[in-house]
Symmetry: C2
């Protein structure tokens, strides 16, 4: 396999003059996002533990009648640690350990809310379309080993943790779920994936169904939080419902590979931030995961044991469309964003996108368009 | 005023190695779009007439049961020609002449469908919030001087022309309208701007109201066409309705300036193409327009006579998210795209985004959320 290209921003910084870089950056990324200075301790720990640590601050004007509501948000991207053939509990334990050591640095960096990648406790085994042994990693959202593990860490670090897992419910139905644990270590609820892909190796519809839990927004000490899991990012109406429920921070924990989605990655979560005047956080795993038995990808190509490179590139976007640089395409990383929740309302006031949404009309139109006898608005042009 | 940066692609091509450029291009723009070779005559005319001529081909696999449906789509971006203080009919006549000479080259380049920028016959005078004299340029969509002028050209060039104008209807109400004239020179209909901005200098709500014509799709010899005018591009649900009505080509004629929207420009129309499996074409005017009386921009800054640089950068996106390079930020231009309409259905089959849309649920949810007694789905996290 060819060496992976590490990071688009590195290439631009290497070759462009400062003036050109500033202009290219403005057009591609929006308003400048100053870097956060971390402590020596945090920097050294990240180096020792071999993960990328980056931090950026979104700018926001002060208001007269509201105090700033400054929050530090962390997102973690990581490769699996052990081979997919190891005993499943060892696989999970190793990932728990790895992410906990990144989480500890997040705590030292003052992070208040953190989110991990989709199905973070396991390899993304759904590509194989085999169930055993990896579905043994499915667990209770409320009482499973991962939630139990994280409740302690959330309380210890005074941090809200969003933990996207493969859930097994009491009747042995599996779901693609995100568990929300608050800063006192309480599970405050969960949300599930609203849109399930049927594309290439992401044929997850044989594992779990679409969520019936709607678009809950968790009203927490550190902001109103929504979670739009993976493929739901291709559906603008899904993002919109989180906005209509008042979300200020919307996370998109994902698992996606270069050949499929990379040119879409940097724009979908960002476009959603603009359309809904909230912050978005797009998180993708890294690395290539190899499975014991070969499988095909429904693309006419020969069977293979991995389905390509998870390209990381996790990033955050502000409601005004400004975005941070991405994390690496190849390496574990922690991205810390410092932001003021007040910017959401400021952008609503400035752009007026919510106000001009004509929601009632679209409610009616979507309802009509969903009916089997829908007649599209077609004008014959011949 | 500082010299304007001309084109992001030029900067990348100048500095990056071919390998780096290919990787950066893939991540930013998606699949390669080979250039179209134009005739010497077309190239020379573009040079003589001092506009940029660029052409790209979107790739599409052949099918067994459908013949390719190859269409060449043109979009034109242009500066106004005469000062905004000249007699209004002379202003319009000069723009008519300028665009007609670009249109002639489009015909020589084999273009089947073309769209101009928003309110293409006039300066974007809405920033002034003055009515006279520029609202005298409003005209009948069916019988006005611009439509009369274009009917002849459409028939002559065997080309569908989409002409976004300021419309004055029979009861003297103004609308922001796009007129669709088919290749035989018949007006087949019109569509109007669905979402009216109230942001900065784009305070157009004092000139015209939101469209009541819905989301018509024009079923033509060269594809099913929708038109999402300017600010409507910030509203994903607006793009969606054109998709639900079967659009294959959706144009976004716009007028927008660097300080406001530039970092959003390259992603919104592109994201819409991905979310709806259709082609999109984003068109923005170029240049700086100066008005006789000073006006303010509702941003606390001093009054001024222009409201910034229209940055052009018109581009096209395929349903798979691949996009062409943009036209210049500073110069008149014609972008020609060769595409196969069949790609829309191929992408629907591959990605399944329409299939997984859960439209009925969102119809219900939007309807509820639009009601004054709506209770958001909030989970208390404290």
């Amino acid at each position: 396999m060819a060496t992976q290209f590490a990071r688009i921003e590195d290439t631009l910084e290497k070759h462009l003059s400062p003036e050109e870089l500033a202009e290219v950056r403005r057009i591609l990324y929006g308003e400048e996002t100053p870097t956060i200075q971390f402590t020596e301790e945090a920097i050294n720990l990240a180096k020792q533990r071999d993960f990328e640590l980056r931090g950026y601050r979104f700018q926001c004007p002060a208001e007269q009648t509201r105090m700033p509501r400054i929050v530090r948000v962390g997102i973690i991207q990581n490769a699996i640690v052990r081979p997919t053939t190891d005993p499943v509990e060892e696989q999970r334990r190793a990932i728990h350990h790895r992410v906990a050591e990144i989480l500890e640095v997040a705590a030292k960096a003052g992070v208040n809310v953190i989110c991990f990648q989709e199905a973070w406790t396991m390899p993304f085994a759904f590509c194989t379309r085999e169930k055993a042994p990896w579905t043994e990693l499915a667990e209770s959202a409320e009482h499973g080993p991962t939630t139990t593990f994280l409740k302690t860490l959330a309380a210890k670090h005074n941090m809200i943790i969003i933990s996207p897992i493969l859930e097994r419910d009491d009747s042995d139905v599996m779901w693609n779920t995100a568990v929300v644990i608050n800063q006192t270590g309480q599970v405050i609820g969960k949300t599930r994936k609203n849109h399930i892909p049927r594309v290439g190796d992401f044929n997850e519809s044989t594992y779990y169904m679409e969520s019936t839990l709607g678009h809950p927004v968790f009203d927490t000490k550190f902001g109103k939080i929504g979670i739009n899991i993976c493929y739901g990012r291709h559906h603008p109406q899904n993002w919109m419902m989180f906005g209509l429920n008042g979300a200020e921070l919307v996370f998109n924990p994902s698992a996606t590979v270069g050949g499929l989605s990379e040119p879409l990655w940097s724009i979908e979560a960002r476009c959603a931030a603009i359309a809904n005047s909230f912050y978005t956080f797009a998180i993708n795993r890294v690395g290539t995961e190899t499975f014991p038995n070969e499988f095909t990808s429904a693309d006419g190509k020969p069977a293979h044991k991995d389905f390509g490179h998870f390209y990381g590139s996790s990033y955050a976007t502000a409601p005004n469309g400004s975005r941070t640089p991405g994390l690496s395409r190849v390496k574990d990383g922690l991205l810390v964003t410092e932001l003021d929740l007040n910017l959401c309302r400021q952008v609503k006031d400035h752009w007026g996108i919510r106000m001009t949404q004509r929601l009632e009309m679209y409610g009616e139109k979507f309802t009509k368009a969903a009916k089997p006898d829908y007649k599209p608005e077609i004008i014959n042009g011949n």
